[in-house]
């Protein structure tokens, strides 16, 4: 039941972690850039939608 034995049997196994890492990083970078670059007023307006 060794972890590495299974991985060795998968063709081009390296693609899985690389893909997931890239997607992961891109999504998080995107979300963080967006949230911190958008204007304060816009965020306040959005937060106030239920309060109207």
């Amino acid at each position: 039941m060794k972890f590495t034995n299974y991985l060795k049997d998968i063709d081009n196994v390296g693609i899985y972690p690389i893909c997931s890492l890239i997607i992961f990083t891109l999504v998080f970078a995107g979300v963080i850039i967006y949230t911190f670059s958008s204007g304060k007023k816009k965020m306040q307006d959005n937060a106030n939608i239920p309060m109207q």
């Binding site: 299974y6 999504v27 979300v31």
Partner: protein, 708 residues
């Protein structure tokens, strides 16, 4: 700019709200009954319909899909209309959604009581109901997206994202986990077997918690907590990060339910890593909710609604801290298969889900009926006894789980297991009694809430259609500020749906695909043969009676488990198990290598009256198995279905299956006769004995020392 007048549909919210209360009380009542069954087995009443193995799935399905499900639909329909400034898309669809869901609940309860089950936890409902669930879910989706499309508010408020994420992920989970091949009008075998089935099932099971019990509740939180506190959410920025981080990470964590099992190691490691990462978004969300109350803590002192929200969010924080800890392998080695897990889920279910729901209803119903809550005092009392109920439920079970696990692992100085399994059970029965009392107190609180809300309804005047107004989207000017890519996603609901699907599908695909595509992930063992027809029938009885709710079939590679149960379980031993029956709880001992351990006569007497064979056992009696004739009319169909699933029965085996079945049954009857038991070979008990005696014998190593 022309202002349009329209009406919110409150009737559908009222219907779902009433269904929440009714099913909540029913589900909790069943929960209290099965809690006491574990202390007093006589409460199983000796009939199939009220035995623990059948009631436990009814309890879990009722509270998850009926209590929580109805609350989510009601809450979501209320919120959608308000934050989108539009009436629900279609009243007929709303009606179909409501009555369709209630039909599913009723059919589910009846079929589970009758023993129709797929044998996969929280996905027990059989294939016709699975199809019905899919249809009703599509109706919900169409109604939600239709409303979003005709909205009068450009920005989709964050609560809506959580509902969209919920909808798309639950659809994916339900469909992937429900692939099954029917062998009769009401019954089927899982398409997957053994390790694959386990992986899919816990990918589903874990994410059912994530996307049915968590994300929709965060949607409710992002609306009702600000409303009840009278101030907007603490940080809208946080809520965006919270959403994407949570749905991205949650989907990967499923394998933490299968640590130390025969699941390949890489999948176990993946599950653990992502479970630890989950702390961040979970706590971010919790704190965002709690910080919303900044400057409003004086209100928390008086308002039962805010009190309940605070306790609910705190319970959410505790459960989501505990969850990652439980997915560490060294902690899991102690907690898994014990009552610790049950305590953990009930902190979430009673504390987070339950209190969120009651707080929501206390806030909602007075507004729908245009009145004040009947009794603020009663609601405060509910808060107090509910909290006591949660503590009295959870603390004894933590204690029981810890104690039992340590007792299982204890060896004497001479290297023998110190305790028989039964001793570890009788030791914690007092804790089971306390847990039952805790559950009853919580139920009492739910009844108080029902009474209080009923009186509120009586006092008020229901507003079925609430007037509102807004400007149509096309008449609204576009905002002047710079456009961001995320704004584009937020404004385009279909795009948000597609992005959410991609995000959750990535995790699912990377997690599941390697195990599916690579045969080598499950090494085959030549000694492992398909079940004989009689064993197969016996296995189906095992599934029907819900034996998996108390017995595991998965021996982990620990010294104590090998000493107690035999050689640890290998992935290759389960390749013909449609569905897998590894279980998740050991209220009774593991059964993977039960085969050959006891004579046939022991099983015969034990099933009829467990206490006769093991004094102090809390197992229910199954006397009906001794009376009921085995239905062999479906044997051929079952064999053919198994062949279609890839089980290598020889060509034409279905035609001779019943002959072989009878031969094997005669052998077992003869062995019973030698032990002075007169039994008919046509009875169900014979098939069950055949299955139990087969379990784990294919590669059984030399008898291990020191069993029971």
């Amino acid at each position: 700019m022309q202002i349009e007048k329209f009406y919110y549909d409150n009737k559908i919210v009222k219907q779902f709200g009433a269904a929440t209360l009714i099913w909540g009380v029913v589900g909790m009542l069943v929960g209290v009954l099965i809690a006491f069954q574990l202390a007093f087995p006589a409460l199983n009443f000796g009939i199939p319909y009220t035995s623990f193995g059948r009631l436990r799935p009814i309890h879990t399905n009722a509270v998850i899909f009926a209590f929580v499900g109805n609350a989510v639909f009601g809450g979501a329909y209320y919120i959608l209309q308000r934050v989108l400034k539009a009436r629900l898309y279609n009243d007929v669809l709303s009606k179909i959604h409501f009555w369709g869901w209630q039909l599913i609940i009723v059919l589910g309860a009846i079929s589970l009581a009758l023993g129709y089950t797929t044998g996969k936890e929280y996905a027990e409902l059989e294939w016709p109901i699975d199809i019905l669930i899919t249809l009703v879910w599509v109706v919900f989706g169409v109604n939600m997206f239709g409303t979003i499309l005709k909205r009068r508010e450009r920005h989709l408020y964050v609560a809506i994202w959580f509902f969209i994420g919920t909808w798309v992920t639950v659809a994916m989970l339900h469909i992937v986990n429900s692939f099954e091949v029917p062998f009769s009008l009401f019954q089927s075998y899982s398409l997957y077997a053994g390790v694959q089935d386990a992986l899919v099932q816990w990918w589903y099971g874990h994410n059912a918690v994530a996307f049915f019990l968590t994300t929709p509740f965060l949607g409710l939180m992002y609306y009702f907590v600000p409303k009840a506190a009278g101030r907007p959410i603490y940080s809208y920025r946080w809520s965006i990060i919270h959403f994407w981080a949570l749905i991205f990470i949650y989907i990967w964590a499923g394998p933490h339910h299968l640590l130390y099992t025969a699941l390949p190691g890489w999948a176990q490691a993946l599950g653990t890593v992502f479970s630890i990462m989950l702390i961040l978004p979970s706590w971010g969300g919790m704190l965002n909710g709690l910080f919303t109350l900044r400057g409003a803590w004086d209100k928390v002192r008086e308002d039962p609604i805010l009190k309940m929200f605070v306790v609910a969010l705190t319970c959410y924080g505790m459960a989501t801290f505990e969850g990652p800890m439980l997915s560490l392998k060294n902690v899991n080695a102690i907690s898994h298969y014990t009552d610790w897990t049950i305590a953990h889920v009930h902190v979430g279910a009673l504390g987070f889900n339950g209190f969120m729901i009651f707080a929501m209803l206390y806030w909602l119903i007075p507004r729908l009926w245009n009145t004040k809550l009947y009794s603020q005092k009663l609601a405060n009392t509910h808060f107090i006894i509910g909290t006591i109920g949660i503590l009295l439920y959870a603390v004894p079970l933590y204690w029981a789980g810890f104690t039992q696990s340590l007792m299982w692992k204890k060896f004497t100085e001479s290297g023998q297991l110190q305790y028989q399994f039964l001793e570890t059970v009788t030791h914690i029965v007092p804790m089971y009694v306390l847990r039952g009392v805790g559950g009853s107190i919580y139920l009492l609180g739910a009844l108080l809430a029902t009474y209080n809300l009923y009186k509120t309804m009586k006092a008020g005047q229901f507003v079925a259609n609430e007037a509102a107004e807004g400007v149509a989207l096309k008449d609204q000017p576009l905002p002047q500020s710079k456009m961001h890519w995320h704004s584009v996603i937020e404004r385009k609901p279909i795009r948000l749906l597609v992005f959410s699907l991609i995000v959750v599908a990535i995790g699912g695909i990377i997690e599941l695909m390697p195990t599916f595509l690579i045969d080598n992930n499950v090494p085959t063992i030549s000694a492992v043969r398909p079940y004989t027809p009689l064993e197969l029938q016996g296995r189906d009885i095992y599934v029907r009676e819900g034996c998996y709710t108390c017995h595991s079939q998965m021996i982990r590679p620990f010294r104590d488990e090998e000493a107690r149960y035999g050689a640890y379980s290998k992935a290759g031993e389960f390749i013909y198990d449609h569905p897998f029956q590894w279980g998740s709880k050991r209220t009774g001992p593991d059964l993977h290598r039960i085969g050959g351990k006891y004579p046939d006569s022991w099983h015969y007497k034990h099933m009829n009256d467990p206490q006769e064979m093991s004094d102090g056992s809390i197992m229910p009696a199954y006397p009906w198995l001794l009376d009921k004739d085995l239905d062999t009319s479906n044997t051929a169909g079952k064999i053919r279905t198994m062949q279609r699933l890839g089980v290598p029965y020889p060509e034409g085996y279905d035609k001779i299956a019943n002959t072989e079945l009878r031969e094997q049954a005669e052998k077992i009857t003869a062995s019973l006769r030698n032990e002075k038991i007169k039994a008919r070979s046509s009875k169900e008990i014979i098939a069950l004995i055949a299955y139990l005696q087969r379990l784990g014998t294919d590669i059984k190593a030399e008898e291990t020392v020191n069993n029971p």
